[in-house]
């Protein structure tokens, strides 16, 4: 039973075997101080997390800034060397690979960065930006390379003639498309999308999101989709992982994470997301978390979330939360949560209360779209009629009388 099967809206994409297996991954950064640069502490950016990504699947990774989600994304393709733990890509342990082998492997995994302004070299033309990976991996040369670049530009919805332009001549959304084209150049199987749309405007976000979905269907891509926007992650993911302070706190299909979350942090996060519907906003029950996220250099003992946890307070501050770090454990089919009291969290309606009520999607009224369709039909028939009226006119020159 794969995750996708539990989500009825998923089209018939093939989700197969495990492609990426992350086991007890840790990424720590030393804090150096003094003239001898002695290590005086460690930022535990990613602290002992395990998960897997299946072939053809999109795993959404959400969390607040500093929770370690981007570091995880980088460690998964070994752009960042882990402190401990293993990452297996299609059975190969990435830590064991030599430089040359790793480079070869990189052809199969790519990354799209958040900031379309700083991730493209301003001195390179779009053509050379996109053909660089082709060159590195000896994939195409000469005419074939130019042809391939044009093909890639068209694929991401840009004009193929733009190869000689520079990044500054493009808008943010277009630049992000260039970043996507660069990642696709080597025909990868797996792409880490690190906040690919956060820097874009709402209407442009939707365009890029649609593009990523289209490409996924077309090439059977596997994504690790990192974002802080829970709505976007719900839209694109087959499974969702939630991180807090270097730990994975919950993992499961969107139906579980968004409708019946088993971790109090996930519930708090959900209740904080604004919904573009004034009535739903008025009805919502919110838990407003107090305080800030603690420093990952000095995380709290026991459960890392307990100092801000509403459930901990509600349960009368059980000692277990202060002393014992909860394991990520199965709380329902394909649904894991790292909370000693996940069963109590599941019972709550916090963060999901608004889901129960009837949802109306506001936007284009139906009558307008219907009107538009009718108008198009009328126009088409009018055009056809005009064609008939002209009698002898051949279909190739319909507008002779303008």
């Amino acid at each position: 039973m794969t995750a996708a099967a539990t989500d009825p809206a998923t089209p018939a994409r093939q989700i197969g075997e495990t492609l990426i297996d992350v086991d007890r991954l840790k990424v720590h950064f030393p804090i150096l101080s003094g003239i001898f640069q002695r290590e005086s502490g460690r930022v535990r950016a990613v602290d002992d997390i395990s998960f897997e990504i299946r072939k053809g699947e999109t795993l959404g990774l959400v969390g607040e800034s500093g929770c370690g989600k981007s570091t995880t994304g980088r460690a998964v393709i070994r752009l960042r060397n882990p402190t401990a733990g293993t990452v297996r890509f299609d059975g190969h342990d990435l830590m064991d690979l030599s430089r040359g082998e790793l480079r070869k492997m990189r052809r199969r995994m790519q990354i799209i960065f958040q900031d379309p302004y700083s991730s493209l070299n301003p001195r390179m033309t779009v053509g050379s930006i996109i053909s660089e990976p082709l060159e590195t991996h000896d994939l195409a040369a000469g005419k074939a390379r130019i042809e391939r670049v044009r093909e890639l530009l068209a694929l991401v919805g840009l004009n193929p003639n733009y190869t000689d332009r520079y990044p500054h001549e493009f808008s943010g959304g277009q630049r992000q498309r260039i970043g996507v084209a660069r990642a696709l150049a080597v025909e990868p199987e797996f792409i880490v999308c690190d906040e690919p749309i956060s820097a874009l405007d709402v209407s442009i976000q939707a365009q890029v999101l649609n593009l990523l979905v289209e490409l996924r269907e077309k090439f059977g891509l596997t994504y690790l989709f990192i974002a802080h926007d829970l709505s976007v992650v719900r839209h694109i993911s087959d499974r969702v992982a939630v991180m807090y302070l270097g730990k994975l706190v919950e993992l499961g299909p969107p139906s579980a994470i968004y409708d019946a979350p088993g971790h109090p942090y996930t519930r708090a996060l959900l209740s904080a997301v604004p919904i573009p519907d004034p009535k739903a906003e008025r009805r919502r029950k919110r838990v407003i978390l107090t305080g800030d996220v603690p420093s990952p250099a000095n995380p709290p003992d026991g459960c890392r979330f307990h100092p801000r946890c509403w459930l901990y307070e509600r349960l009368g501050r059980p000692e277990q939360c202060r002393t014992e770090d909860p394991e990520l454990r199965t709380v329902a089919t394909d649904h894991r949560a790292a909370c000693h009291f996940a069963e109590e969290a599941l019972q709550s309606d916090i963060g999901v209360a608004h889901m129960a009520t009837d949802k109306v999607r506001h936007g284009t009224p139906q009558s307008a779209t219907a009107g538009l369709a009718a108008e198009h039909a009328a126009e088409a028939s009018a055009a056809a009629a005009a064609l008939d009226d002209s009698g002898t006119g051949s279909p190739n020159e319909p507008s002779a009388e303008v």
Binding site: D7, P8, A9, T10, E64, S65, G173, V202, S203, I204, Q205, A206, Q207, L209, N210, V213, H228, D229, L230, S231, V232, R234, H235, I236, S237, P254, S255, Y258, A268, L269, L270, S271, A272, V273, P274, I275, P276, D277, P278, K279, A280, E281, R282, R286, I288, L289, T290, D292, V293, H354, M355, K359, R361, H362, G363, T364, P365, S367, A368, G371
Partner: protein
């Protein structure tokens, strides 16, 4: 939600009129402003009236019509949302209201701004300075760059209270401590001596709010106040703004690109596109019965938290137009699915629709239009 009928506020609120003859109003300008305020308050109905405001930027490439003929009103104690994408003119509108447009290249070329009965564009710079800070508080997007990194936060909050309320050093410090605890900063007295870098992003934004509220302003201008913050911190800050606005009856203009935030915070919404208000109305009307294809497009293109994974998002194709020498067509025409010839030859006016104060700028959705 008007508090204009609250007698304590209208008559005896902490207005400039009631201030002692101290430094801040001892100047000739200050006195004049105070008298004008008192005089105008008796007649003023709205806290803010903006009429036909246009702000242009004179650049090397041409004149950018950043805000073009914008008119709106704001009641006492009301929260108005200005929503739109980047470059639509929402921030420039807010900066124009307080004459904070960098000049050159920017210039308010026409229009009238009546704030609490005062014609803002006619004030001298000195009078304007008194009005800002005292009557209008600001919260900007980036709390790191809007605080002075070399001064303690206690000093920065107290400074405003000292300058505008004429409090003594000690009284101003006490006021700062009180404000800090009001905005939810624990151990506020100890933290007075801390510098901005010692606070997290959310805490810095709380400090900004404390500064903005130091003089009990009548209007709070919040320009993307939570965009740089995480979602749980965002919820804290929004809740804080909401409760403080209720408690003090402060009117709020909330500028945001996030339709979710606007839905939860605002009484009324102005939707801006390419320097124009394209739709305005009560929050429920704007979300439930929008009458402008751009507003539909914005709502359509949002992935929603309460929606199961769906099909393709409907997007608005293309990009906003260049604001240099805008053409005489409807500015949304090139991206509009419902466009007719008329939209390309003339620009529609804001005309009334169903619902209180609901207006839209679209030929198609006018009563005799082609979109129903």
């Amino acid at each position: 939600m008007s508090v204009s009928d609250d007698p304590s506020r209208v008559a005896g609120g902490p207005a400039l009129t009631d201030l002692p003859d101290d430094v801040s109003v001892a100047t000739e300008e200050g006195r004049r402003l105070a008298e004008q305020l008192a005089d105008n308050r008796r007649h003023a109905r709205k806290l803010l009236e903006v009429r036909n405001l246009s702000t242009h930027f004179y650049t090397r490439d041409g004149v950018v019509h950043a805000v073009d003929d914008v008119s709106f009103e704001l009641d006492y104690g009301e929260t108005l949302g200005i929503v739109g994408e980047s470059g639509c003119g929402k921030s420039v509108t807010a900066l124009s209201l307080t004459r904070l447009i960098a000049s050159p290249p920017g210039k308010i070329v026409s229009g009238q701004i009546i704030f609490d009965g005062i014609d803002v564009l006619k004030l001298s710079n000195e009078e304007m300075r008194l009005l800002r800070g005292k009557k209008i508080g600001f919260i900007f997007q980036d709390p790191m760059t809007s605080l002075n990194p070399t001064l303690t936060i206690g000093y920065q909050i107290a400074e405003s209270a000292k300058t505008h309320l004429g409090l003594s050093r000690k009284a101003a410090d006490d006021r700062a401590v009180e404000l800090l605890s009001k905005v939810g900063i624990p151990r506020s007295r100890e933290r007075m001596g801390d510098y901005p870098h010692q606070f997290s992003g959310g805490m810095r934004q709380r400090v900004m709010i404390a500064i903005a509220l130091a003089c009990d302003p009548m209007l709070l201008l919040a320009d993307e106040p939570t965009t740089a913050l995480d979602v749980t911190i965002q919820a804290q800050i929004l809740e804080l703004i909401r409760s403080l606005s209720d408690e003090f009856g402060t009117a709020v203009i909330l500028i945001t690109h996030d339709l979710g935030i606007a839905a939860g915070m605002c009484h009324r919404i102005n939707v801006m596109y390419a320097g124009r208000i394209v739709e305005t109305g009560l929050v429920d009307d704007i979300y439930e019965a929008p009458r402008m294809p751009y507003a539909w497009g914005l709502l359509d293109s949002l992935p929603r938290l309460d929606e199961v994974k769906g099909a393709r998002l409907r997007t608005i194709e293309g990009m906003p137009p260049d604001l240099i020498d805008p053409t005489s067509e409807c500015r949304f025409a090139v991206r509009c699915k419902y466009v007719h010839d008329r939209c390309r030859s003339e620009e529609p006016e804001l005309t009334p629709r169903d619902g209180e104060g609901h207006m839209a700028r679209c030929f198609g959705t006018e009563p005799e239009g082609w979109i129903q």
